[in-house]
Amino acid sequence: MIGYKMTQGTIIIEGNAGMRLGEGMKGGKILVKGNVDSWVGCMMKGGKIEVTGSAGSYVGSSHRGSTEGMKGGEILIHGNAGNEIGCHMKDGLIRVDCCAGFFPGIHMRNGTIVILGDCLGRAGAEMVDGKIIVCGYLPSVLPTFTIDSIRNDVKVNEERIAGPFYRFTGDMVEEGKGKLFVARNKNPHLASYEKYL
């Protein structure tokens, strides 16, 4: 629980860190030069966490049982991340430079998750709102998402991520209006969706 509820200042970790790094942090910066375990930035409200290596599951999530996920701030993971990142996320940004596991953005209410690499699947299950961008391979899109358009790029804060992307809306199970962007070039198996446009 390094950086638990921190409000300002900087922590630099030369090496790996354990679970619940930066839990509930409101401000300041944590830089990990290595890997971190699960629940990085869980329930964080502000500030920035940067991890040069990989992270476990539940990046920027809520506690087990709680619906209070990350509410603000940024988490940048330069390596891979585990399952259920951004669970119950309400705002802020999670960026994973390599691959992510199952269920990114599960129960998500708002905010943005960017996965520059591949995703194991089931992205955005039960999401209500917010944005998930998968730039790599996604095995399939949940049947409770509908395609609404093809976009040339996606705006994340000030930055534009180049596409083209299939844009899906869901999760219909929650009557959600979340947006799931999946890179067209890396996912030819999703081309069959184009006939619904």
């Binding site: 809520s62 506690h63 049982g65």
Partner: protein, 569 residues
């Protein structure tokens, strides 16, 4: 060991002691008239308040429902942990604490006896296992009988004596203490997706009405001579306009009071005192309820006071819990306990700025302040439904200080503040009255003769608080009151100092009290073997477990304290 508590300001309402400086002598776990001062361990209680140990008449602390609440809410425990010490166990707290933590926290506040008010009979074994693991306090538990099939069926056929035999059997089978009714008839109806709307709305398949169930069990309670009255969670609880059905419920047993003794206890009455047609027009019905209670001697109530916090609601009232789930959108558990009752659990946050919750906060206090006789109203939060029991000190400070109430009134929803009756109430409780609503009155209502007082031969359960009534203005210094009741200086259980300055220094098991109904008059009757045969057959047909596994034997309890009762028949 002998103990001598010297020079404290003693508040012992059952013996009419109102803050006099007195010594209390203790020997062999009991309060005695005199002891040899040289041989006794002396506690100097000068400038402190001495009261009997606190008693809680209604707190959900054990059993399958509470445990399901623990499972449902890992997030509830996360930031509130109890670390292990050389003598106490670790645990987790907040709204549904683990068993050991529950015992420790009550003891630290000076409580020594607590009642678990809703036990599905089928879950009695589980409940007793958890009660056994709730240390520091004596315990009692009330089986849910208002929707038990035998009760519905026998009362519908007007077989009162048969019903009494079955209830006596059930109480001894579950090692229960009193008869609990939750939304009588409504819980059974909920099994068919329905609820009862008024006292004369028949229950599907049984045709019996809530009025008949309440009256029937009230009569059974009298026949069996149980120490407590029927303990009732009213129909339509938590719905706007329900104060009318609450008044009806109290009226419907008016003629069943004997010797001016109470015949009904309306529990967490706050939830049953709503006026208005819907959530937008919700208003307090406390004035009407208080007026009725003031005019009648057959009713007692407990508050069910809301405190603004995050908590967990849990009752046997399945339909009400469904409503709460719909209102809050929160996760929930709903469970049908076979042929007996039901249960529901929903996490809940009472927000100050909400009209409804702020009104509910006001209603609880209005009830306690408008009911003139403190022997008729007891301090509870229906833990954890309206707030965790650890908020009691805050409630005490609201009752003792108009200023403390004013501070909160300024923070709540404006409309609720405008509708609240609190600004017009000047009454402030004194320590004698606080001692009544937190121990003496509860002991009296529960018929626990050795509890709630400091007279000769009472159980030596005592709480000593760091509060000097001679130089404290409770009305102004309400924070001092709150702090004093949060941590007792000493908690004495059965004559031993178990907690000191908020730290547990001696863990004790605590006994489980149950009513041991003398049933020879029943068992001698020729019809008894028929009854047993019928019970066995019914269990085979309708319950998932056999009759023989249902019965909790006395030796199953870690520390059993049967209370012998002679029925009137």
């Amino acid at each position: 060991m002998a103990l001598l508590v010297k020079n404290g300001y003693v508040y012992d309402p059952l013996n009419n002691v109102k803050g006099e400086i007195m010594d209390i002598c203790i020997e062999n776990g009991k309060i005695v008239e005199k002891i040899d001062e040289k041989k006794a361990h002396i506690i100097d209680a000068s400038n402190m308040v001495v009261m009997p140990g606190g008693i809680d008449i209604h707190t959900h602390i054990a059993g399958s429902e509470v445990n399901a609440g623990r499972l449902l809410r890992p997030e509830d425990h996360y930031d509130d942990v109890e670390t292990k010490t050389a003598i106490t166990r670790s645990g987790v707290g907040h709204s549904v604490p683990s068993t050991f933590t529950t015992g420790y926290r009550y003891s630290r506040m000076g409580y020594t006896t607590i009642c678990n008010p809703s036990m599905p009979p089928l879950e009695a074994r589980h409940t007793h296992e958890e009660l056994d693991d709730t240390p520091m306090v004596d315990k009692a538990t009330f089986p849910l009988l208002g929707d038990w099939w035998f009760v519905l069926e026998l009362l519908q056929k007007s077989l009162l004596r048969e019903c009494a035999i079955h209830v006596a059997w059930l109480i001894s089978a579950t090692k229960g203490y009193a008869i609990k009714l939750v939304n009588p008839g409504g819980v059974e109806s909920w099994g068919f997706g329905m609820n009862v709307k008024n006292l004369d709305d028949p229950v599907p398949n049984f045709g019996i009405t809530p009025r008949e169930i309440i009256r029937g069990l009230c009569k059974v309670n009298h026949v069996l001579n149980l120490p407590h009255t029927i303990h009732v969670h009213t129909n339509q609880l938590g719905k706007p306009g329900n104060y009318l059905i609450t008044l009806e419920t109290m009226k419907c047993v008016e003629d069943l009071a004997f010797e001016k003794k109470p015949s009904i206890h309306i529990t967490h009455c706050q939830f049953s005192s709503f006026k208005g047609d819907d959530w937008g027009s919700i208003k307090s019905g406390a004035e009407e309820i208080a007026k009725y209670v003031n005019g009648h001697s057959h009713v007692t109530i407990d508050m069910g006071q809301v405190v603004f916090t995050e908590t967990t609601t849990m009752t046997a009232d399945g339909p009400w819990q469904y409503t709460l789930h719909e209102l809050s959108g929160n996760k929930w558990v709903n469970h049908d306990v076979e042929t007996e009752t039901a249960a529901g659990i929903v996490p809940f946050t009472y927000k100050r700025k909400s009209l409804v919750y702020a009104t509910m906060w006001s209603i609880g206090l209005e009830l306690a302040l408008l009911i003139k006789d403190p022997w008729k109203v007891y301090l509870t939060t229906d833990h954890p439904n309206a707030a965790p029991f650890t908020t009691y000190p805050k409630i005490i400070s609201w009752l003792m200080s108009k200023k403390a109430r004013g501070v909160m009134l300024n923070k709540i929803n404006k409309k609720a503040k405008k509708r609240s009756l609190l600004p017009s109430i000047d009454r402030e409780y004194d320590l004698f009255e606080i001692a009544i609503i937190t121990r003496a009155g509860q002991a009296k209502a529960l018929g626990m003769k050795n509890k709630g007082h400091l007279g000769h031969n009472a159980d030596a359960d005592i709480a000593i608080y760091d509060l000097n009534p001679k130089n404290t203005d409770f009305s102004k210094d309400y924070r001092i009151v709150r702090r004093a009741f949060e941590k007792s200086v000493f908690t004495i259980k059965d004559g031993e100092i178990v907690a000191k300055n908020g730290t547990i220094i001696k863990p004790v098991v605590g006994r489980t009290m149950w009513t041991d109904i003398e049933t020879t008059s029943f068992t001698m009757a020729s019809s008894y073997s028929e009854t047993l045969k019928d019970l066995k057959k019914r269990f085979r047909d309708y319950w998932t477990i056999e009759l023989d596994n249902y019965f909790v034997p006395e030796k199953y309890l870690k520390s059993s304290e049967p209370m012998p009762i002679k029925p009137e028949v």
